[in-house]
């Protein structure tokens, strides 16, 4: 078990939990980052932040601080 921001490029994980009830958590939920969803890390920006991931049928960019709230199981 680790957080999404600790995955490397090309690694995949299964969402286990998401912390928080604020706007950021809500937006992540709305985007479909819910329990059981599989995500793949695609890239990190030049300064290491933000990161680009793939989930469902689309790509998402999020900051590491946001990705840090998402607990994933490595696949």
């Amino acid at each position: 078990m680790t957080s999404l921001d600790r995955l490397g490029v090309g690694q995949r994980g299964c969402v286990h939990a998401l912390a928080g009830t604020d706007a950021i958590a809500q937006r992540l939920y709305e985007m479909g980052l819910i329990e059981g969803e599989v995500v793949e890390v695609l890239a990190f920006a030049p300064l290491g932040d933000p990161m680009e991931i793939r989930l469902r049928d689309f790509r998402l960019s999020l900051r590491r601080s946001e990705a840090n709230r998402i607990t994933v199981t490595r696949l």
Partner: protein
């Protein structure tokens, strides 16, 4: 608009081709709608189908109806029919990207809950097919319980089907049902509904419960007593204990329902095919390669804007001069001629001169957005901008502002978060724009170059002026984000859309819309301020003897022009047949012309000195003394508040060099000479300008918002007078303090 026609609202996620579909349906029959206190735009249009007319409103693209700001509330209010003077829509069309079905249907399930009839426009079906997906639209329609129309709006496919379906659904007016939430949740909603009373639509009661710190909650908190907040909090805690915590319960319920509804209708290939977007993104979001491509792209864009806009801007300036010259020939000298030439023609030219840059920048931005690159640019630049409390999307507006803040501020529209957008808009004018350059060049040329200074002084000083903006802008942004624009950390979760070939029509449309909006909304204000300054510099226009300066200057100018013709003729004659007598006469005439020039300049100096603006400058002299300025510099700075371009020309008028083209190097050199010779008027014979004074003037120009156009555009983009006023005040204060600091420190040694 209570026309009696059926009212249709369009909603959808960003990047679903919603605008393309709206344009395809309504053509040019559109108008922009604004709501008070809101900075997003809605578009209204209408289409005709089988003898009937339908009114359409296009709402801003959104992922969810969970509103956190007035901007996000617009879509909710429109769908619920809560806007004054507007009917509740008879039908909502949700535009759904077929290649990204599940996430797009999330918003649709929220709309279904409102109970209004819904039609799904299943757009971009070709993209889904290219990715190996197959979608059974008929089955999806049965599962969702609403009509689903497959289409490709960009190719015009499926438009007629959509119109027929809309017409049918409006007539049938079938209610729609969203997913069922857990019982524990519904129980809390019922209780809360009784508590807040009948006035609140059920949809908003649900939002009140789900959206922690959301717009509905804050709105109610302002009206009701503290008990309600405590009750909502207790309800949320009960829900968490019951295993359905907010806001997670909403996403779980909706996505669970979506998965069921799409089962059997959506087939994905076993192996996800490698798409063009995958291949392009492997380079463009790569740490090193992506950054290089980005920098090259930015250079190319701004180079092209420069190369293409400059001749057009020159053309506009030439046209302005030609019209001014023609008018001067037609009218007798006097207030009317001066108003038309100096006020109106200059004002209109001053508005139009921005157009080439705005049209080009917006065309490029439309290309970058429509092809999907804008999100990648924001991705690459985000970390850098995060240091100032902004996000990656602020980069392009701020970079554009180095050319001119007006298109830069308009470009900030791409930033969805209101606070980040405002912070970007408010600091954009701090970037050193092109109009400051002539002032820098004039003063550096006169006081910071030549034998007395090291060879690198001019370059370093110029760089320093640009660096000042680059350093101060992020600091101010940071200060604003920690005070006035403070709030919860904005969400930087951003979709990276698929790459696609940009649509030429959309690009032209966006560019022309931006240009038109600038001319209509900001142009009038700019023109008005130009005329006001003209008047302040023109009146009173008679000297102590009651003679009009205007007429005196004009008569001397006529005499000067006659001399010029005579001199030219003489020169030509001498060139052909040298003659000592003629040459003697030429020298006399040249001297006479010189004398007339001096007289004209002296008249202008006296005239501007006793104009209202000149009097204000003298009156303000104690205020500008700490900056090392006398009333003449103060007055020139004052005259430059509507447009800093006039600084060089005003200095020319006051320091007896006449009005000239600030872009002309020879003119600047001549004026530089006059500035070097200028002395304090207290009889001490002290030099007026020295290095600290020159630096203090430059720093003032670097930090001050001397641009009515910028303020007018800020007013337009923030939909309020408060922010342009704030920008003006803070920048003026900053400029004053900065200039005083530089002068005082610079003068310590002497």
């Amino acid at each position: 608009m209570s026309s009696g026609h059926p009212n249709i609202a369009f909603v959808g996620n960003p990047n679903t081709g919603k605008t393309t579909l709206f344009n395809a349906l309504t053509g040019l029959n559109q108008r922009v709608g604004n709501y008070p206190g809101v900075t997003v735009e809605t578009k209204k249009g209408r289409f005709h189908w089988q003898g009937r007319t339908f009114d359409v409103i296009d709402l801003p693209g959104t992922y969810s109806l969970a509103a956190r700001s007035p901007d996000e509330m617009v879509a909710v209010d429109v769908i619920l029919g809560r806007n004054a003077g507007e009917r509740k829509p008879d039908l909502v069309v949700t535009i759904v990207d077929a290649s990204n079905l599940e996430r797009n249907l999330y918003l649709t399930t929220q709309v279904l809950e409102i109970g209004v009839p819904v039609v799904v426009a299943l757009n971009m079906t070709d993209v889904a097919v290219n990715q190996g997906m197959t979608i059974d639209a008929a089955r999806l329609s049965r599962n969702l319980g609403i009509p689903v129309v497959p289409m490709q709006a960009n190719k015009g496919k499926g438009l007629d089907d959509l119109k027929t379906t809309i017409a049918g659904a409006v007539d049938a007016s079938l209610p729609s049902h969203g997913p069922s939430f857990p019982d524990a949740f519904e129980t809390e909603v019922r209780q809360l509904s009784q508590r807040v009373g009948d006035g609140m639509p059920p949809f908003l009661v649900r939002r009140l419960l789900i959206d922690v710190g959301g717009y509905t909650e804050r709105l109610l908190a302002g009206r009701q007593n503290g008990h309600l907040a405590a009750e909502i909090q207790a309800a949320r805690e009960r829900l968490a204990l019951a295993g359905c915590p907010v806001p997670a319960v909403e996403a779980r319920t909706r996505y669970g329902w979506i998965r069921q509804a799409t089962t059997g209708c959506l087939q994905r290939p076993a192996e996800r095919p490698v798409t063009w977007t995958d291949r392009i993104d492997a380079v463009l979001t790569h740490r090193a390669a992506g950054l290089l491509v980005f920098l090259a792209m930015m250079f190319l864009v701004f180079q092209m804007i420069y190369v293409w806009a400059t001749p057009l801007m020159d053309l506009i300036s030439a046209g302005q001069d030609a019209v001014g010259g023609w008018l001067s020939g037609q009218l007798a000298p006097g207030p009317l001629r001066s108003l038309l030439v100096g006020g109106v023609v200059n004002g209109v030219g001053g508005v139009l001169v921005f157009l080439p840059q705005i049209l080009l920048l917006f065309a490029f931005i439309a290309v970058l957005e429509d092809c999907g690159y804008m999100a990648r640019a924001a991705f690459l630049m985000d970390r850098l901008m995060a240091g100032a409390g902004l996000n990656g999307k602020s980069f392009i507006p701020l970079l554009s502002s180095v050319a001119c803040a007006v298109p830069g501020i308009m470009a900030a529209r791409v930033i969805e978060n209101r606070r980040d957008r405002f912070a970007t808009i408010l600091v954009a004018p701090l970037m050193s724009c092109a109009a400051r350059l002539p002032v820098y060049l004039l003063l550096i040329g006169a006081f910071l170059s030549g034998d007395d200074h090291a060879w690198w002084t001019p370059g370093v000083t110029l760089f320093g002026m640009y660096a000042l903006g680059l350093v101060v802008a992020p600091l101010v942004a940071f200060a604003l984000k920690s005070t006035l624009l403070r709030g919860a950390t904005p969400v930087f979760v951003m979709e990276m859309p698929l790459y696609k070939v940009p649509s030429a029509r959309l690009i032209v449309r966006r560019s022309v819309e931006a240009g038109w909006m600038f001319v209509c909304r900001a142009g009038t204000l700019i023109l008005a301020s130009m005329i006001v300054v003209w008047a302040l510099l023109y009146f009173p226009h008679t000297d102590a003897a009651g003679q009009s300066y205007d007429l005196q200057v004009a008569s001397k100018q006529d005499a000067r022009d006659e001399l010029e013709t005579e001199i030219a003729a003489l020169e030509k004659a001498i060139e052909q047949t040298p003659d000592a007598v003629e040459e003697q006469r030429l020298a006399e005439l040249t001297e006479k012309a010189q004398g007339l020039d001096d007289e004209i300049h002296a008249l202008e100096e006296a005239w501007k000195g006793q104009s209202y603006l000149g009097r204000a400058g003298k009156w303000l002299e104690p205020v500008v003394r700490p900056l090392g300025w006398d009333w003449r510099i103060g007055m020139a700075a004052l005259a430059s508040f509507p447009a800093r371009e006039v600084m060089v020309g005003t200095l020319g008028l006051i320091f007896r060099e006449g009005e000239g083209d600030p872009g002309d190097e020879d003119y600047r050199a001549g004026l530089g000479q006059r500035l070097q010779e200028a002395r304090w008027e207290d009889g001490s014979g002290r030099q007026l300008f020295n290095v600290p004074v020159a630096l203090s003037v430059m720093v003032f120009f670097a930090l001050c918002c001397q641009c009515a156009s910028t303020l007018a555009v800020i007013k337009r983009e923030t939909n309020s007078w408060r922010w342009p006023l704030f920008t003006f005040v803070y920048m003026t204060a900053l400029a004053y303090l900065g200039a005083a600091l530089v002068y005082q420190i610079g003068s310590l040694g002497s």
